[in-house]
Each structure stands twice: as structure tokens, then as C-alpha cells.
């Protein structure tokens, strides 16, 4: 009878252990979640704007801007 009761207790302990919470996350683990969130935001941002990249880069504009062939004005006098 005693051994039967002991068996019941052991089974009950195992069952209760299985249903218990996992170890609560440590503060370190919580802090580690933030980068995950940041990465997911970065993923939805648009790609680099090529227009802005070029039109804010003076050297690149100097390199690529087509020279303007200014036609000599044939007008005479005040317009």
C-alpha cells in the first residue's frame, strides 16, 4: 500500500513538473529581443533612393552633368 502511494506521488510530481512554466526569461534575454525588432523594421524600409544619392552628391553631379552648350545670343539690344 505504501509503495502504491509512493508511485502515485512520483507520477503526480512528474506530471506537475511537465505542466510547469519554463524558466522565466532573464533580463539579458529580454534585452536581446530588441535587435530582432529593429531588424524587422529595417526590412520594410525602402531601398536607397538613387535620385537623392546622386542629386546630393556634388562630385557625382559634376562628373555626370551634361555640359551646357550655350548658344551665342544673336539678339541685340535690351529685351
Amino acid at each position: 500500500m505504501k509503495s502504491k502511494a509512493l508511485k502515485i506521488l512520483i507520477v503526480a510530481f512528474l506530471l506537475l513538473s511537465a505542466c510547469g512554466k519554463a524558466n522565466p526569461p532573464s533580463p539579458t534575454a529580454t534585452a536581446e529581443e530588441k535587435p530582432v525588432g529593429t531588424e524587422s523594421v529595417a526590412e520594410v524600409q525602402p531601398e536607397a533612393d538613387e535620385c537623392v544619392a546622386c542629386h546630393t552628391d556634388k562630385e557625382r553631379l559634376i562628373e555626370t552633368a551634361a555640359p551646357e552648350m550655350e548658344a551665342e545670343s544673336e539678339s541685340k539690344g535690351v529685351g
Binding site: 535620385c51 555626370t64 548658344a71 539690344g77
Partner: protein, 424 residues
């Protein structure tokens, strides 16, 4: 200002621009094109000047301006057409339209050419790294186009003549007087569109800021006696620019349109207002010679202005070089009993333009003020006379009318009431 380098014209200052409402849009939203690091690819389908289609690109936020601007003079250039139509005939319109497209239409202005970049006509180029300017920068926008007359006068660039007091002393820019509604137009349909810059309401008006100068407003005898017969500029503007004989053509060498102005010179001349209206009742105004000639457009056809004489070549002007003290307001004698040098008399008009300027030529110099004050009053009973033909009685003496002196021979009926005021 020195011309901008090609790269300077399109350099965006992102820090400043991105802080503005326009900077919240992506480039492609307004300019089209394609996202690519390769310039040629990126510029496929590029819309360099989105505001050339204001309904599409500006109207969502600037509904009021977009509604009126298509009918504003900066957009329609209707002033040119009012003059061209008056001087020409319908059969000449196709040739004149071609001329206009080649030589005049480039002055049409988009929203962007005042608010974000220099007008194309003067080379283009962003003002301040693509930041939109509510107030257009005066010398890079307004006087970049309106430079040879208004700009030079206002900024004091005519050698020997000071700039406008509003600029010289108060550093006022154009929009201090020419407010947005004046520049963006007020009509919302073609039928109400302005036909000329001097059509309709007088805007801006000097008396808006100087209310005491209106007749009855202050003790200044000049304002009291002349306030409704002389435009403010008659007394308060100084020498300004006139031009002669502009001719346009297409170059056989380059294929480009060009013009040639025969003469540019400085004048100050007071003429008669050819078209007094309720809004501009003045009898006398400064007049400026405009460079039109009967043969101005002969490259496009013979005799395209058959009604050349329908409009004067010395035109109503509002010179932008206002001064408190001017040579002509120094004393009454500057005009009254003067040698007439300040007035557009027939001897100052070219013989071939006399007919066109009949309405503005001053026939008689104002008499000396002494004579004016001595002149007998017109009897109060004349108020009810059906005829205003004074000379009918006063040259013959009929009906016992006193006969006018011999030195009055040059005076016409329209002159009499200038000196002979009606008795109270």
C-alpha cells in the same frame, strides 16, 4: 547673378529640403523617372518641371492657386495678345501665333519657376537646394525676367538715378506690394481673366499704405488739387527706360529666334491717360515708349499690324523708381507755365507715330498758376447747360458771353474747366 554651373542647378540640399512639406514626397512622386544608379536609365520618363501641369502636381494642396493661375497674366500672357489683336487683323493671327510661339511664349511662367527654381528663360537652376520658397527671391525670380525696365529702376541700376525709395530705404521686395492674389490671378474662368495688367482694379494702390495722400486725406495742397487727376507716379517717379523698334526673326545661321532693339534711352514724360477708367481716372500719367514698330514682325509676313495706329506707342506707365522728392514736384513751375520739357508734346513724337499717339500727346502745357488763380469762375448757372461747348459762345460773344482773350486761341472745350472752376 553669375550663371550657375550645370551641376549647381540640380544639387539638392537634402537636410533643408527634407524638413519641408515638399521634401516628404519621394522624387519619383513628382518627377517620374526610374530608380537606377545609371543616369540615363534614371531619367527615363523624367518630368523636369512638374508644375507645368499644376492640376496634377500642385492642386491637391494648393487648390485655390491652381484654380486661378491658368487665367493669370503670368500664365496667359494675355497682355501681349490684347495689344497684338488690337493692332492686327484676324487673317494675320496664324502668322502672329507662330511669331509669339518663337519669341514671346518663353516668358510664360510655371509655379516652380517662381517658387523653386530660376525661370528657364534665364537659365533655370534651383534656388536653394530644391526648398520651395513661398516668397520668390526677388533678383533670381522677379527681376530676373522683369529686369531691363522694372528691375533696373527699382534697384537703382540706371546710372545717375536712385533706386525706388521702397527698396532703398525699406528694403521692400516685390511681393510687399504685389501680393499673391495679384500674381496668381483672381479669375476662375476664361471669361473673367485679366486682359492687361492695367485692366480692372488698380492693384497695388499707393493709397493702401499711404491713405492720407488720397484727395481730402491730408493738408498737402498738391495731393488736394491733383490727387484725382494725376497718377501718383506723375509726381513721384523719376527718369525711366524707353525702347524703340524691336524686330524679331529666326537666324539663318543657327535657326534660333532672336530680336534686335533699335534704341534704348532714358525718359521722363507726362502724357494724357489714353483710357481713363473708374479705377484709373487720371488725366495725366507718365508714358513710356514701347519697342513696337509697324514692321516688328515682318519676318513672319508683310503688314501684320495693319491697325498699328489703334494703340499708342507711348503707353501708360508705372515706373518703379518712386521718390518722395522729384524734379517735377519741387515747385508748381516745373509743370505750370514751364517750357513743356516734361510733357509728351507732338514735337517729341516721331512723325510716323503721331496718329497712334494722338490720345496721349499733350496739346497744351498747364498755364502758370497765377493765371489759373486769376481765371474768372464759371457761373453756377452753367451747371445746367446742356452744351459743354464753351468755345461756341466764348469765341463769338453770342448770348452776351465774354469773349476769351487772344492767347486762349489754342484752348479747346476740354481745357476750359481746368482753370475756370464752377462757382459754388
Amino acid at each position: 547673378m553669375a550663371p550657375l554651373e550645370p551641376w549647381e542647378k540640380v544639387l539638392v540640399e537634402l537636410d533643408a529640403f527634407s524638413q519641408t512639406a515638399h521634401g516628404k514626397q519621394t522624387c519619383v512622386d513628382c518627377h517620374g523617372g526610374v530608380q537606377s544608379p545609371d543616369k540615363e536609365t534614371a531619367h527615363e520618363g523624367l518630368i523636369a518641371s512638374p508644375s507645368a501641369q499644376p492640376e496634377m502636381y500642385c492642386g491637391d494642396c494648393h487648390e485655390e492657386q491652381v484654380k486661378t493661375y491658368p487665367f493669370a497674366l503670368h500664365s496667359t500672357q494675355a497682355g501681349y495678345w490684347t495689344a497684338l489683336n488690337t493692332r492686327s487683323a484676324p487673317e494675320n493671327h496664324p502668322a502672329l501665333e507662330e511669331m509669339f510661339g518663337n519669341h514671346c511664349a518663353t516668358c510664360h511662367t510655371t509655379c516652380g519657376e517662381c517658387h523653386v527654381s530660376q525661370p528657364k528663360q534665364v537659365g533655370g537652376g534651383l534656388f536653394t537646394g530644391h526648398v520651395f520658397e513661398k516668397t520668390p527671391p526677388m533678383t533670381r525670380s522677379c527681376t530676373a525676367c522683369h529686369g531691363s525696365r522694372v528691375g533696373n529702376e527699382f534697384l537703382g541700376k540706371n546710372e545717375g538715378f536712385p533706386g525706388d525709395v521702397h527698396f532703398r530705404e525699406a528694403r521692400m521686395n516685390c511681393v510687399k506690394c504685389h501680393e499673391g492674389a495679384d500674381l496668381h490671378g483672381a479669375a476662375i474662368e476664361a471669361a473673367d481673366a485679366e486682359t492687361h495688367r492695367y485692366a480692372g482694379e488698380e492693384e497695388p494702390k499707393c493709397v493702401t499704405c499711404h491713405p492720407t495722400t488720397a484727395p481730402g486725406g491730408d493738408e498737402n495742397p498738391m495731393h488736394q488739387s491733383h490727387g484725382d487727376t494725376l497718377s501718383c507716379q506723375v509726381c513721384h517717379s523719376i527718369t525711366y527706360t524707353s525702347c524703340d523698334g524691336c524686330h524679331v526673326a529666326i537666324s539663318t545661321k543657327s535657326g534660333n529666334p532672336f530680336f534686335e532693339t533699335q534704341a534704348t534711352y532714358l525718359t521722363f514724360l507726362i502724357g494724357r491717360n489714353p483710357n481713363p477708367t473708374e479705377e484709373r481716372p487720371y488725366k495725366y500719367v507718365p508714358v513710356r515708349h514701347v519697342p513696337v514698330a509697324p514692321t516688328s514682325y515682318q519676318f513672319y509676313g508683310a503688314n501684320l499690324l495693319p491697325n498699328f495706329n489703334a494703340l499708342p506707342t507711348w503707353v501708360y506707365a508705372t515706373p518703379h523708381n518712386i521718390q518722395k522728392n522729384t524734379p517735377q514736384n519741387a515747385s508748381c513751375q516745373s509743370c505750370h507755365g514751364s517750357d513743356g520739357s516734361l510733357f509728351l508734346t507732338a514735337d517729341k513724337v516721331k512723325a510716323e507715330e503721331l496718329e497712334a499717339n494722338r490720345a496721349v500727346i499733350v496739346g497744351l502745357i498747364p498755364p502758370p498758376v497765377e493765371l489759373f488763380f486769376r481765371a474768372p469762375k464759371m457761373p453756377a448757372s452753367h451747371r445746367t447747360l446742356a452744351s459743354n461747348a464753351c468755345t461756341a459762345c466764348h469765341t463769338t460773344g453770342i448770348r452776351n458771353a465774354p469773349v476769351s482773350p487772344e492767347d486762349h486761341a489754342a484752348y479747346k472745350d476740354e481745357n476750359c474747366s481746368g482753370c475756370h472752376k464752377l462757382q459754388e
